[in-house]
């Protein structure tokens, strides 16, 4: 009895507030837009009995999904989200790896402090961290003032409201997600392996490529997924730092819903986004599973 209550309470909560809403999105994505409240059709009327239910299912179709393929705004937005997420992931890796490496090679008494300094930004508002770049990157911003001040450029660079600002924003906010898993694998690494490689005639650089990188592969893959997956559906960064030509699907969904008030198309956009995300999420799960098996 006690066990039943323990299972039932969180179970029913998640069913009602996670699974049911998701089914509603799926259902509305198959409906048509209508000038009514709620603004879609058909709506299910259970009092009509079986024939009403049959009519209801008969009126659902894949029209919105067909619409997504005909209007090139949508597939360009999906592709551009994937591209922006992939490029920012690679930049984050290039910046995050040396930091994680230096942390793992620092004196052991320093490591807890360094680790706390990496985690601290997590607790600071995400919105504020993105916002802080607006004052730096704008045309009269700190960066342009600095570059003009040292005489490197004469006219301010346009960085804010471009894709470059979006890359900077993603790299900045997700950098700790990259550093932490890489640091975790590098810290566990046995340094005598490097000495062995050097004794056997490897140069330092080739020992790094042949020993350190392969041993930290698990951390690299985990870090890349942890940046890539949330970056695809990002909304705040493109809408604050990006320009009107920055196409990201999270922003398209938001506008479809709040500006165009087209709920069926917004729902269809959400469903396709989820289908795209399933591939990296499954790959990530498999990587984690492998890491657990290697440890256990």
């Amino acid at each position: 009895m006690r066990r039943l209550v323990l299972i039932a309470v969180p179970y029913i909560w998640l069913l009602a507030l996670f699974l049911v809403p998701f089914i509603i999105v799926l259902k509305i994505s198959l409906s048509d837009i209508a000038l009514a409240i709620p603004p879609y059709t058909p709506t299910l009327d259970l009092s009509g009995g079986w024939s009403a239910i049959r009519d209801f299912f008969g009126a659902l179709d894949f029209e919105n999904f067909v619409f997504l393929t005909t209007d090139d705004l949508y597939w360009r937005a999906y592709l551009s989200s994937l591209r922006i997420a992939a490029i920012s992931t690679l930049i984050t890796l290039a910046i995050g790896y040396p930091i994680a490496y230096a942390m793992a090679r620092s004196a052991p008494e320093w490591r807890p402090t360094l680790l706390m300094l990496v985690i601290l930004p997590f607790w600071t508002s995400f919105l504020i961290r993105v916002y802080s770049w607006m004052g730096i990157l704008s045309s009269e911003g700190v960066l342009n003032q600095f570059l003009i001040g040292i005489g490197l450029i004469d006219t301010p660079l346009q960085i804010l409201s471009t894709n470059i600002a979006v890359y900077i924003g993603i790299v900045y906010t997700y950098l700790p997600f990259m550093i932490l898993p890489i640091y975790a694998t590098l810290e566990k690494m046995d340094e005598s392996l490097l000495e062995a490689a050097e004794d056997l005639g490897c140069s330092r650089l080739s020992a790094f490529w042949l020993v350190t990188i392969p041993l930290s592969k698990g951390g690299i893959i985990a870090g890349c997924f942890l940046v890539f997956i949330p970056a695809i559906g990002e909304f705040v960064i493109p809408s604050l730092l990006g320009g009107s030509d920055t196409l990201m699907i999270g922003k398209v969904l938001w506008e479809e819903f709040f500006s165009n008030r087209d709920w069926p198309v917004a729902s269809a956009v959400a469903i396709v986004l989820l289908l795209i995300l399933i591939v990296p999420i499954v790959l990530f799960q498999r990587n984690e599973q492998k890491a657990r098996e290697a440890e256990g």
């Binding site: 509305i28 706390m116 300094l117 508002s125 504020i128 009269e140 559906g233």
Partner: protein, 273 residues
């Protein structure tokens, strides 16, 4: 130490400069006297004064704190229950679906979570406001809580609880007197995580709120959409200061607790030896 080189020192310096400089610049400019946010015109606290006179901001802050307290507390209770189901309930019908529903919200894009909850609230005719934001925040943060708590529960020695039961505790007493004190650090960090997630959330709150309730992130977002605002700089500085003080205090407390525990253990070893 053999491999600690100039290269490592440089990447640490540059890396942490990159992580912290934007926030430092934000803090400095919050004390700028000029309304033109990019021109330095001397030290001033006028934006702080204006911020505290702005009733809309104060209202939004109050809404945000209430939402965060309620949602993180409910999420901690539900998340701890879910964690003990995941770790201890063994097999039951629908277990795969249950663990799927715990992990899926962690990777779900916020725009989708927000959209789906809004469509649910409209579907059942629920008036949108503080209550619906609390429901939404509880749902996604209970999943984070259960992940944090279940990792602690997994390493928990069940024989302690069995001993308590043998000694005549009821199951609830055993939980309250034995299990809870041991998993308390994980439960507290789960609550803190849920609290900050709620404070910080813009997207899900924007979808699930109505005209009656504006949270601080919604207010900030609409204020900075068109550019930098000195009042928001002041507000950000206050929020950064609160987090810094909180995290440093928490780490000092845990450090002291660890030292005390180590001393107690040594004393126990001496006493038994």
């Amino acid at each position: 130490m053999r491999r600690f080189s100039w290269f490592n020192a440089t990447s640490l310096t540059l890396g942490f400069a990159f992580l912290y400089l934007p926030m430092v610049i934000l803090v400095i400019y919050s004390f700028n006297a000029s309304k033109l946010v990019t021109v330095w015109a001397g030290f001033s606290t006028r934006w702080y004064v204006e911020l505290f006179q702005d009733q809309e901001f104060l209202d939004a802050a109050w809404v945000t704190v209430r939402v965060a307290v309620f949602s993180s507390t409910i999420a901690t209770v539900l998340g701890t229950m879910a964690a003990s189901v995941l770790v201890r309930a063994g097999r039951f019908r629908g277990r795969t679906l249950f663990s799927g529903m715990i992990y899926a919200p962690l990777v779900m894009p916020e725009v989708i979570t927000g959209l789906s909850l809004l469509l649910l609230f409209i579907g059942i005719g629920l008036d949108r406001g503080i209550f619906t934001i609390v429901l939404a925040h509880t749902t996604f943060s209970m999943c984070y809580v259960s992940v944090v708590v279940s990792s602690r529960l997994a390493t928990f020695d069940r024989s302690l609880e069995e001993a308590a039961l043998d000694l005549g505790c009821s199951p609830f007493q055993a939980f309250r007197l034995v299990t809870l004190p041991i998993i308390a650090p994980a439960v507290i960090s789960g609550w803190l995580l849920a609290f900050t997630l709620s404070l910080d959330d813009l997207v899900i709150a924007s979808f699930t709120t109505g005209p009656s309730a504006t949270t601080l992130p919604i207010k900030i977002f609409s204020a900075v959409r068109l550019g930098v605002s000195p009042q928001i700089n002041a507000l950000s500085t206050i929020m950064i200061a609160i987090v810094a003080v909180g995290v440093i205090t928490a780490s000092l407390i845990t450090k002291r607790a660890a030292v005390t525990q180590a001393r107690d253990e040594q004393a126990a070893v001496r006493a038994t030896g």
